[in-house]
């Protein structure tokens, strides 16, 4: 009698349980937050940000942040594959799923937001100016008037000085920042102007200085596949924790403290997940 009553009760519970299961609903399917391993796009040629070592591994601030954020999503470094993602291929790489996330000095812009969902920014660098350490004539961007400024092929940074601010500097063409650097050291030009984190990477160990007179706010975002809001919210929470735990300061100090750059160690204002 007792046994059968218990059995009846058990079956009733099981039947109700069965009906209940599946009713809770599984939202956010297809988000990368459920993935066991991640492919992360980074740069391979930005010292201190994303640089490929000779053994094929990557190093830099972006790489450290990527590892931290992936860790908060439950993916340890051993299950991360880093992949070089050049600037021109970033949107396509996310759309096709070739990479799951991008940490590659990827500035958030209104136009890019129509194709990419951005987590973060995880850091807000500013455009600043790099000059020779013994040059005291340039204290802010206005002082570039009449000076020789590096014009890097395909970059917009110099335009922000000469076109957006209409400061009449003479531009000196260079194929890349490496060439700018050589020319600056050789006295063939007077200043390089671009994101301060990039400048900081160049300044380390060279007789150069950053003038610490920022004039723009860039926003380095975490590129995600358009519409993956669950991942966007998750990486934003990870970035908050990165700052709260002091990890952001640790990474920034590790890569940029020697450059003399003034860094920000408070969490940036997020863009919002759209």
């Amino acid at each position: 009698m007792r046994t059968s009553r218990v059995a009846a009760a058990a079956i009733l519970v099981a039947a109700t349980g069965l009906a209940g299961c599946g009713l809770s609903g599984e939202a956010d399917q297809g988000s990368i937050v459920h993935k066991r391993s991640l492919v992360i796009g980074v740069k391979e040629d930005q010292p201190s940000l994303g640089l490929k070592r000779s053994d094929g591994t990557y190093e830099g601030f972006d790489v450290d942040v990527a590892k931290y954020v992936a860790g908060k999503l439950g993916v340890p470094p051993s299950r991360i594959t880093f992949r070089t993602t050049p600037s021109s291929a970033r949107e396509a790489a996310l759309a096709t799923g070739a990479v799951d996330m991008i940490f590659a000095t990827y500035s958030i812009t209104a136009q890019r937001k129509t194709k990419v969902t951005f987590g973060g920014p995880y850091y807000v660098p500013h455009q600043d100016t790099l000059v020779r350490a013994d040059d005291s004539s340039i204290k802010n961007v206005r002082d570039l008037k009449g000076k020789r400024l590096c014009e890097v092929l395909g970059s917009n940074s110099w335009k922000r000085v000469t076109e957006e601010r209409k400061i009449t500097a003479t531009t000196v063409k260079a194929r890349n920042y490496g060439e700018c650097l050589t020319k600056l050291l050789a006295g063939q030009l007077d200043a390089i102007s671009t994101d301060d984190l990039i400048l900081a990477g160049f300044a380390v160990g060279r007789p150069l200085k950053i003038i610490n007179s920022p004039f723009t706010d860039e926003k380095y975002g975490i590129g995600l596949k358009k519409g993956d809001l669950a991942a966007c919210e998750a990486v934003n929470r990870a970035v908050i924790q990165m700052y709260q735990e002091g990890k952001a300061k640790e990474f920034l100090d590790k890569w940029f403290s020697k450059s003399g750059l003034r860094i920000t160690t408070s969490v940036p204002q997020f863009e919002g997940c759209t």
């Binding site: 009698m1 046994t3 059968s4 009553r5 059995a7 009846a8 009760a9 079956i11 009733l12 039947a15 109700t16 009906a19 209940g20 599946g22 009713l23 809770s24 609903g25 599984e26 939202a27 956010d28 209104a110 136009q111 937001k113 129509t114 802010n140 961007v141 206005r142 335009k159 922000r160 076109e163 957006e164 601010r165 920022p214 004039f215 723009t216 706010d217 809001l229 669950a230 919210e233 934003n236 929470r237 908050i240 924790q241 709260q244 920000t264 408070s266 969490v267 940036p268 204002q269 997020f270 919002g272 997940c273 759209t274």
Partner: protein, 526 residues
Amino acid sequence: MTTKPESQTRPDAATAPATPPTSPTGRQAARGRDREIAGEPPDLRRPMGIAARVETFLRAQWLGTIPGRIRAYAAVALVGVAALLAVLSVAIGNARDGVQTIGHDAGPRVVATGSLYFALSDMDAQVANVLLIGRQHDLGIGHDEALRRYEVRRVEAGQAAVQAAQLAGDNVNMQRTVREVLDGLGRYERLVGEAMLLDRQANHAAGQLPQQVIDTYRRATDLMKMELLPKAYNLTLDSGATVRQSYESKRTAIESGRTWVVVTGALLLAALLVLQVYVAGRFRRLVNPALALATVVAFVLVAASTGLLSAQAGHLRKAKEDGFDSILALSRARAISHSAFADESRYLLDPGRADTYEQTYLDKSLAVLFVDPQGKPVNLETYYARLPEVLRGFDPARDRGAFLGFFGDEANRARPGLETSALNDTLRAYQKVIENDQTMRRLATGDDRNAAITLRMGRDSGAIKDFDDYDRALVRLSAAHRDAFDQAIKDGDGGLGGWNLIPVGAAVVIAGLILVGVRPRLAEFR
């Protein structure tokens, strides 16, 4: 046959279906009790233990007799009723939770935390106003009014912080952010107090701030911009994320609940039809009226509840997408606009940082309404030129994607009628604000700083009046979405009215009708 026995039958009949005939435990127990009850006629009117009745039922079924069959079919139908009731309760519970969360709990609270950013940002704007006008107390909204607003915003910021703390619940990271904002606010107020004191002592003319005041204010406004505002902004985003997640999970739950209702409802209807066919066939009747009625009631219940769940999913979607999302986005747009407007004061009061404040004004304007520079340099000059081009004859229905940013999203979302006309008003007013900015900067760079200050701070004319018009238009636009939100939530609440009882009542009626339909037939075998 009287009706009395039926009422006796109901309780045990309701438990019987819980034990399907295939259950090994049940069968074993039934076999074990065979000896005791062998030969006894099954008499449901006799008071009997539930287990014994289950066994009687099972034995009859096991033997494959006609009453056994009828009982089995009836039992399956009753299991179906119970299952439908369970599925319905869960699905309706989800719908109720969804409306509760979005409409009454987290939703409105998230909107309330949005005012934290606004209040903090406006505090700093008022400080900039006070410092800029110096001893000319009647400029702008006036020295005393600016101070009064500062106090009001401080109180609002405190209240919004309390809301944020409540929303944080046991999320330690969020709690910590709220604490950091409050700590930072304390430091900010100290710096502001210092700057105000120095400012009073300097007793300067409008726009002629001593460097000492500028330096102290820089520390305050940097603290605000670098630490307080980002954290306040992120708090609202983060709590908004919680609402989005719970909305997504509730909406999918309601939709899958609807599928379950259809499936269990179909099974119940099938069981009722099989029972109907069997009973009618065995007793050479065309139709069993009670069972037929049970089938109709079941059909109506399934149809009505499916419709209800679809409607609830719709109300929830409306509340979230037409209401909540827009309200939140517009409150951010409003806060950023106010902060940009304050950047004009800062531009005038701190010439050393004029370039920086001009850049932040541009960045904020682009966040609010982004126009494609079309290859021209991304600066205010291009913005002044491109904005009227883009807005001239703008029609949200036709010119999708003409511009981006908060207003671009809003243009895609706004529905014809009230929302579209409020949006058009807002855009017109916005254009006026940008025109004023152009004039103000032209005056300031043309060495007529006083004219610039008069334009920016003039009381009943000029920039402040136009900005207030813009602000009112923006608030009206937001109110249109607020109405959509309130309506959807009201519909959601109203739609659920009575659905506590309807499924239970209908289930009792269906079960009762099944028994009424089956019992007289069973009695013929006694």
